[in-house]
Amino acid sequence: MLNQNRVAIEIHHEIEQFLYHEARLLDNEMLREWFDTMLDPEIRYQMVMQQERFVKDKSPAEAQQIMPFDERHGDLELRIRQFESGLQTMLNPRQRLRRAITNIEAFHQEEENTYLVSSYGIASRHRRLYEHEQVIFGRTDRLKRAEDGALRLVARRIDLDERVVRNKNLLLFL
């Protein structure tokens, strides 16, 4: 993410609005719409946590990281079908999720019409009377302008800062 490759202000604005729109869709449980309109069929969707290791540790990355999500298009659809089943007692009464997105930076990639986007997020979940959880994360996205001119998410890597999850679960898209 070199400083000189930053996208121009108009594209930045478009990307920012894309991410806000996405958060709003997800917060309003419009998962299918998100899936259909914002994701590229080639999507790779990852969420990563790191084990606590000493700085000098020499073991390979996969021995140090755990991925609650490492999904392709089909895996995501399977998960969305679970949400659509209407059978999750966890979601009844409905939970309230809110994804505040900040620190958006976008950069041109070598491939044309492709952008590397860095953003931060603070997602809050309120559910039942007393449950409140928060998760802090960074995201590195790859966005591509599709043939219809609209942006699509081609890859997302979500880095969680927490090692031990404090949420009741992470069954949510960040």
Partner: protein
Amino acid sequence: MVDIRELVDAKNGTQSRRIFWDREIYELEMQRIFARCWIFLTHESLIPEFGDFVVTRMGEDEVIVWRQRDGSIKAFLNNCTHRGAKLCTAEAGNSRGFSCSYHGWAFAVEGKLASVPCDSAYGPLFDRQEWGLREVPLVQSYQGFVFGCMDAGAPGLKDYLGDIAWYLDIWADVPGGIELVGPPSRSIIQANWKSPTENFIGDTYHVGWTHASVMAAVLGQAPPQTAWMSEDQGFHVTSRYGHGLGVSTAFYGPMMLVESCPELHEALAVRQAQVEQEKGPEAAKLVSGIWDGSLFPNCSYLYGANVLKVWNPMGPDKVEVMTWTIAERNMSDDLKQRLKVATHRYFGTAGMLESDDIDNFDNSANRGYVTRQGRLNCQMGLGQEREDDVFPGVLGDYMSEVAQRGFYRFYADCLASPNWQDLEEATTRWKSDLLDQ
């Protein structure tokens, strides 16, 4: 003093809600269960080399589990004996020793206090030999699973596993052995440690109901709850020291994993043939099923779904969940990684199945003075316990709560016994007590 027999009616399969709430009971559990029973520490495959270590907990006590030069494994309390600072702050790694961050006391892999900075300042009254790390008295392995025990008077690990060892061999005694793929996912949930443990030990009952959303997503629609109770479904087992497990032979074990790990089909067929030869056709039938099980007190696993769980207590109302993927050592690295992803898809902290369960374990349901006067029911299949020619332990139907009852039977014996000698005595007639009931 806590009256254990009032809390758990082992004969009738009921328990007081207080065992899921009271701090006093919890403290007794820490003493009489977690400082007495064999506690899962790690798997040998996670610390293969000299100096490899993981840090984990036995009850609330943090321990370093450490591979020795001679290949043996020792475990130590993870605290400096000088002014008490935490010693190792990583979860895992490789080291031949740790220096304390406070004053630099250095402890070697075998637990000795190897060096003391400025030691000439100490004077003759200080004896360095006395201040090594405090060692967990017993550490033993079975099929590569490493357990520790704080009570030197405990029976050996193999004896402790008892009837269950036979079953573990079926999936763990594979050529090359099995291994755990780490690192574990970790999360903290609002639950008493017994709730998830009893769920994994034998809760066939909830599968069709709690997890209907996953069934619907995977199968298109959720089958009725009774789909899990046909005659030939399998069985649940309980054993002397509270361990239990269940096998459903009506379901294909790795059904959720095969899409991303198709190699499992063949591996299973191979294994089935091996088991048939070693243990006979009845045992072989179990290989393609889906298993649930818990080892007393707080280690659970699903064979077929290939996950191993530890439920570490953090107070009466909190559990830290640790989840590993079970793989065969001889699998390719690539398959192991795909297996890791697939198992977490269902049983990780973002797992489709796991997420359904967590509310059910929520300890806040026990809030309230009057509420806690209530009792809980665990009577499914009560009085239908049986022995079998092939399968060790005491059996019940696959759709039964025989394993949960066995868990609480031993739980109560454990809390009521001041030492292992009494505990051995209390459990010696467990089988006839159950069968003659």
